[in-house]
């Protein structure tokens, strides 16, 4: 697809992130923006897993939970700087994804969905029940990242919401760049090949089990970093970050926007993060409207919002 070429996608993403603040009437919008970027990052990881490799996971919030709690716990118990704690969380998530992924990625379709779901529930149970370590369902405080103070010493004075808007936006652009690089690389082709036809991928030499695991581990790292960013900007974390609803949210954003395209999936994150705020005008019908929008998109735009729109625009141009 010419439309989703790497440079175009990155340019659109950077332009929107940089220009949007001009239209922000209050600091609340910076806050919503940075939430979108945090979700967008997790969703970009799922594009690699769902969109490229064609595998499903309903437990990726588990990795977000690991990333989030790494930032809360590692500074206190291991004396790590919060930034290093996020890296530590990502490494831990990658290791766990590697160990969990090996057995469950042998499963296909809804079997894989249920097994991954089990993993997510397991993580959130541990976080809720190990109250002495994690504070249980009440959650726990997360130390300050400290980067804003460093920026101030070099003359860049940002408010807290502005800083997190810029910082999460930067991480999202980096994450999108990596995922887009992957798409047109030998690894990306192997992933998309096994998505298209596992048997044909095998016959051209693709070690299918290995590459499914690569996609699973990569997407786990994205989810973990997303969880870390959420914890660090909220300075507080509860086990909800690893909860079932968060996993479902991630997958819904990815599929709604268009699992095959990084930009599409990020659009999904934009819509599903902002729509609940917009739909508050419907008051008690908010959830109802949200569900309705999701159903209509999937019925009429099976490939997700962005790919479907792109296709119809191209179709008209020809």
């Amino acid at each position: 697809m010419r439309f989703s070429s790497k440079a175009t996608t990155l340019l659109i993403l950077i332009a929107v992130i940089a220009i949007a603040p001009v239209f922000f009437p209050s600091s609340y919008y910076f806050r919503v923006g940075s939430l979108i970027f945090v979700n967008g990052l997790a969703v970009t990881g799922l594009v690699v897993l769902i969109g490229y490799a064609g595998q499903i996971s309903l437990g990726h919030a588990g990795f977000a939970g690991i990333g989030a709690y790494a930032c809360a716990l590692a500074p206190v118990h291991l004396g790590l700087h919060p930034a290093l704690a996020a890296v530590f969380g990502a490494a831990l998530s990658a290791t766990i994804a590697f160990l969990v992924g090996r057995p469950i990625l042998r499963l296909k379709g809804y079997y894989l969905a249920v097994a991954s779901l089990g993993f997510g529930i397991l993580v959130s149970m541990v976080l809720s029940n190990e109250a002495r370590l994690t504070g249980g369902p009440d959650g726990m405080a997360v130390p300050e990242l400290g980067l804003r103070g460093v920026l101030r010493t070099v003359g860049v004075d940002l408010s807290n919401t502005e800083f997190w808007y810029a910082f999460s936006g930067l991480v999202l652009v980096l994450g999108a760049w990596l995922a887009l690089n992957l798409y047109h690389s030998p690894t990306g082709r192997a992933l998309r090949a096994l998505h298209g036809s596992e048997i044909a991928a095998r016959t051209v030499g693709v070690d299918v089990a290995h590459y499914k695991l690569v996609a699973f581990v990569l997407s786990a790292v994205y989810a973990s970093v997303s969880g870390s960013l959420l914890a660090l900007q909220n300075k507080f974390i509860t086990p909800d970050v690893a909860g079932f609803m968060h996993s479902i949210e991630m997958v819904t954003m990815t599929v709604l926007g268009g699992a095959g395209s990084v930009l599409g999936a990020i659009l999904g994150a934009v819509i599903l993060t902002t729509l609940p705020q917009v739909l508050t005008i419907f008051q008690e019908y908010e959830q109802l409207m949200l569900g309705l929008v999701m159903m209509l998109v999937m019925i009429f735009m099976r490939q997700g919002l962005l790919p479907s729109i792109a296709r119809s625009v191209r179709g008209r141009g020809e």
Partner: protein, 261 residues
């Protein structure tokens, strides 16, 4: 010495003997065709040789190494590639990308290099793209390179599968009905292509229903009926073999003789 040797290969599906005690061998550059009526077990035989099914009995020996029950991706590393009777195209990829994907074993490297698009990764991608374009030209799809694979005709997709399989630079190539759905001109093109690939030393195992094509290009023919080998030999001998005529050729026999004449 034979490149690929099949010995007493057999498999049962729920008590039904799908293939039983089939053996033959391929020399380098030889074209061997497997023929037989529908349901004779040709594709099942292909699936066992290419590692898709695990055979219940017998051995597959590739260049002196026992590769029975080896998974397809490891057989690919040993130079065995195939195409499919029911197409197995990477639908969401362009024609070019399908052909590039066939280069997997030549272009794979570290995931890290691919993520950061390091020069090594870009170099590997570029090399396989150049090779893929040459292969597409070779199968007559050079102009369709940028199209979505799903938009090609059935016959063109058959040729795309051949290009993808050739990308592996195989020693042995299994072609499952490469000319099915192709018109006379396309069939002839595939015919030439197969002969040329074989002339380069690649052994070809062919399942094909177009008897004119089989008789024209095969060095050796193996005939299956009800999962068992009922005859094998040179095309001319097979065309005259009474068991073969009875089991399979029947009405087509006259057609074949006309083609010979």
């Amino acid at each position: 010495m034979s490149l690929l040797q099949i010995e007493g290969l057999g498999i049962d599906f729920g008590g039904l003997r799908a293939v039983h005690d089939v053996g033959f061998s391929l020399k380098p550059g030889e074209i061997v065709s497997v023929i037989g009526p529908n349901g004779a077990g040709k594709t099942t035989l292909f699936n066992m040789i290419s590692g898709v099914y695990a055979p219940g009995r017998g051995r597959v020996v590739l260049e002196g190494e026992d590769v029975t029950r080896m998974p397809p991706h490891l057989l690919a590393r040993r130079g065995l590639s195939r195409t499919f009777q029911n197409l197995q195209i990477f639908q969401s990829m362009s024609v070019l990308e399908n052909a590039i994907a066939g280069h997997h074993l030549h272009e794979r490297g570290s995931v890290f290099a691919d993520l950061f698009s390091l020069p090594a990764s870009r170099r590997r991608s570029k090399a396989s793209e150049e090779s893929a374009r040459v292969l597409l030209e070779r199968v007559g799809l050079g102009r369709a390179a940028e199209q979505e694979a799903g938009s090609l005709s059935y016959g063109a997709l058959k040729r795309l599968e051949i290009a993808r399989a050739l990308a592996l630079k195989p020693r042995v190539l299994l072609l499952d009905e490469p000319a099915a759905g192709c018109n006379a001109v396309e069939t002839e093109e595939i015919d030439h292509l197969i002969a040329k690939v074989a002339a380069e030393g690649v052994s070809i195992l062919l399942v094909e229903h177009d008897m004119k094509m089989v008789m024209r290009i095969s060095n050796h023919i193996v005939v299956l009926d009800h999962g068992e080998k009922i005859a094998e030999g040179e095309p001319a001998a097979i065309a005259r073999n009474p068991r073969v005529i009875e089991a399979y050729l029947g009405a087509q026999a006259t057609e074949v003789q006309n083609a010979d004449g």
